[in-house]
Symmetry: C2
Subunit: 478 residues, 2 copies
């Protein structure tokens, strides 16, 4: 599907940024509003988010987490309680100063994240070791006053979930951050068909206030990296700052260990940028709001709409998300490119000739293949094709990631490979932030993560030549 | 269940306000935060909201509505576009004046409701008559800078859904407002077990900017009324102010007709205040986060936990929301009152004697009845008991409403009946707001609605004695 057939969107390989903006608008995922940096998520985009929510929420609940809802506003004094945290977030929050006509005694910010709110409640709710663990999550919007905006990737307001948990021991908290990272990874790979790189963030890139941040890194079509989800191990940093204390089984007051973790509407940006092509969006079947669209051919002719309706019912009855496009004011060609733009995984055509020969024509969005499917095997074949498409998209993205991962032993190599847009470049690192800064300055690439699966390329830091501590994946990132 | 057994909460008939606050805190539905007027919805309270969302969302989607997400912030100039609307909401919004360290060029309010945002997008999205109807909804939080706070009933921030639709004709818009009102009514009566009164708001009580507002009124245990849901018919008021125009099938530019409608976390307040008793919360089975709690008796004895586990699995397997309380650090008595406080519809006890006689003991939260259920009939009997409990709660609330509804022909009667806390008082009204104001001044009761089911009590307005136009339900309200 590399052929460019669609004139409504920029070419994906010539101008990826424009292609992306064109696709999110033309596929009606999102739209710009009168409010700078804030976007409206349209019905089709929100339906993807609902599928993401449904899948993840079930997994969080299966692992013992419950949902709550904390206030939208954080008083300035509360934000200031953890010193690294306030330093990280205060410069980019929106401040509420007036309620109605009255000036507030203390200004409040719209939550950029809710650690401080959870901590203030936890300090009331935790009393005994029997109250632990506390495993809460919330689905909400957050606000960060960014200067630049890109739909789904960077906007002042975005939707996400934020998990916040308290544990008896450091080990248990650490296990939680890794268990949730596994849930995210499984979800990304098996639902979004996006291969992930699992690792730990460097000190410089970690969350303000965390002891350690773990992340999932993904690689987009243009070989730029995108962090799709993170989990944070706070140790006792927040629980000490907020005086969260419990009476242990030995009768001693202790501070619990804490985590937080999140994934956002950014993940929709990743779906677009990993799978999309010159005809628009390509959505993996498992996450697609519409999995199959039925386009009747010559629908004014006898039996066509009736038979299309039967096919619709058969597929709906086995739980598939299916649409029948019987609009009479658009040509078949228009309908085809409309649903291609929207990335619907399977198009099913049925016309007089198909009815005569007891078959339908099935077109795959991912490969562009067209095939006949006998009417009696409809359900079985469609499910097979959807599975194949899901797998195809993952394999394709994995191949892309592998092709776009290289390694460097010297700064010259690192610079050259980043410059030639080679995606991830693996290189050894001494662990000092001065080298991390220098790599960024020279190559514009950041340390995406210290991957859990370490390799040994050499004994020397790619930058300073001193003893290497870790292998790092470097890349330019969104 | 009028017997007061629980010392942790105030008596429901002596001090209803304190009883309410005690219950929401002790049942862990909600908690106060450091932020005045903003509350934290705890896991148990949020689980009720999730059930409400799930039920209503399915009904909205079945009737063709899709979810979207609009920005949280509204620029002041946008809020000002519809004159009645801004007059109604501007005095009670929270204003954002700074982003990071910068003063904003134009201040923005946190949405108190999103008509203006939907309108600004609709003016971009609607082009042709073929684009109509537009049927959108969003689930979000909104903020209104209230002076006084009561959990779920009145708080600065609350959660709700707001539907916003556009239609070709006035009749179609009107049909939408009534169809949605029916959805809300069916949901309230059949899921929340709360009988509703359907009617139209007076001019004075209608939504700022609406042509007509329809509402569902409910009556609490203390015989004070609560408006649980509203739908608004905007006619072309907003579409003209926001220049939403489409090309009709005759090639003429026209303004569509518009509606909006919403139900909020207030409905949780109604559940509490309609069904609760002196032992705490009573939740109707269909909406209960936990429908059945299994409390093992003498759980340290052989077989007890094993058999309790089997019962748990059998009930879970037929799709019921069931919990097994095998905590070993609380007495059976403590567990009983804990789950009673939380209003779990059915408690199931199983101990060595029950195991011996192949039965369980079932206690109903609504009536307090206890009965033996043979093990082999478990699933069938539990489902029957849940249905009976759902019906019992509705019937009880309906009886209360009927007992607390009277009528008045004179102002003296109206005043006397409102004063003696008689709930709804029906009385005739001339339709003039001067009489509506006078009734409120004298009795503190407001016109709850002009009910769809009109009755003829007399020809004269209860206040001025002039010709009556409508029968009105008057009541004090939350």
């Amino acid at each position: 599907m590399a052929d460019k057939k669609n004139d409504f969107i920029a070419d994906i390989d010539t101008d990826f940024a424009q292609w992306y903006t064109d696709v999110v608008i033309k596929a009606q995922l999102i739209d710009y509003t009168d409010i700078k940096g804030c976007l409206a998520i349209r019905a089709y985009g929100y339906a993807i988010w609902e599928n993401i929510q449904k899948e993840l929420d079930a997994r969080f609940k299966d692992t013992g987490h419950e949902n709550v809802y904390m206030p939208l506003l954080i008083p300035e004094s509360l934000l200031q309680k953890e010193k690294d945290h306030v330093k990280g977030f205060a410069p980019e929050v929106a401040w509420v100063t007036h309620g109605g006509n009255d000036l507030l005694e203390e200004r409040m910010c719209i939550r950029p994240t809710s650690e401080t709110l959870f901590c203030s409640m936890y300090s009331k709710w935790v009393k005994s070791w029997r109250d632990l663990p506390m495993l809460y999550n919330q689905w909400c919007s957050v606000m960060r006053w960014e200067k630049t905006t890109r739909p789904f990737l960077r906007s002042r307001e975005f939707l996400w979930q934020e998990g916040h948990t308290l544990h008896l021991t450091e080990e248990e908290a650490q296990r939680e951050t890794l268990m949730i990272l596994d849930i995210y990874a499984d979800f990304c790979e098996n639902f979004l068909a996006i291969p992930v790189l699992k690792g730990k963030k460097t000190e410089k890139e970690k969350f303000p206030g965390a002891r350690a941040t773990y992340s999932l890194e993904t690689l987009m079509h243009d070989s730029v990296a995108l962090q799709i989800a993170t989990t944070h191990d706070f140790s006792q940093n927040f629980s000490k700052a907020f005086k969260i204390e419990y009476l242990s089984d030995k009768g001693v007051l202790e501070n619990p260990y804490q985590t937080s973790w999140g994934i956002s509407t950014r993940s929709i940006g990743a779906i677009i940028m990993v799978h999309g092509d010159n005809n628009g969006l390509v959505i993996p079947p498992k996450i697609a709001p519409t999995q199959i669209v039925i386009v009747p051919i010559a629908q004014q002719k006898a039996m066509v709409l009736e038979e299309a309706g039967k096919v619709f019912k058969r597929l709906k009855d086995i739980g598939l998300r299916v649409k029948l496009d019987d609009r009479d004011n658009f040509s078949t060609g228009y309908k085809f490119s409309d649903w291609e733009m929207k990335g619907v995984p399977i198009r099913l055509e049925i016309g007089p000739k198909d009815i005569e020969s007891h078959k339908v024509v099935v077109a795959r969005r991912d490969t562009g293949e067209k095939m006949d499917v006998p009417m009696e095997a409809l359900e079985v074949e469609i499910v097979k094709i959807m599975d194949a498409s899901q797998q195809f998209l993952f394999d394709k993205a994995l191949k892309h990631k592998e092709e776009r991962t290289s390694f460097a032993l010297t700064m010259d190599e690192l610079q050259a490979q980043i410059k030639s847009k080679l995606g991830y470049v693996k290189a050894m690192w001494c662990g000092e932030s001065v080298c991390e800064d220098k790599v960024k300055e020279i190559t514009e690439a950041t340390a995406r993560c210290i991957p859990f699966e370490q390799e040994h390329l050499s004994n020397q830091c790619v930058c300073c030549g001193k003893e290497a501590k870790h292998l790092v994946y470097w890349a330019k990132a969104y």
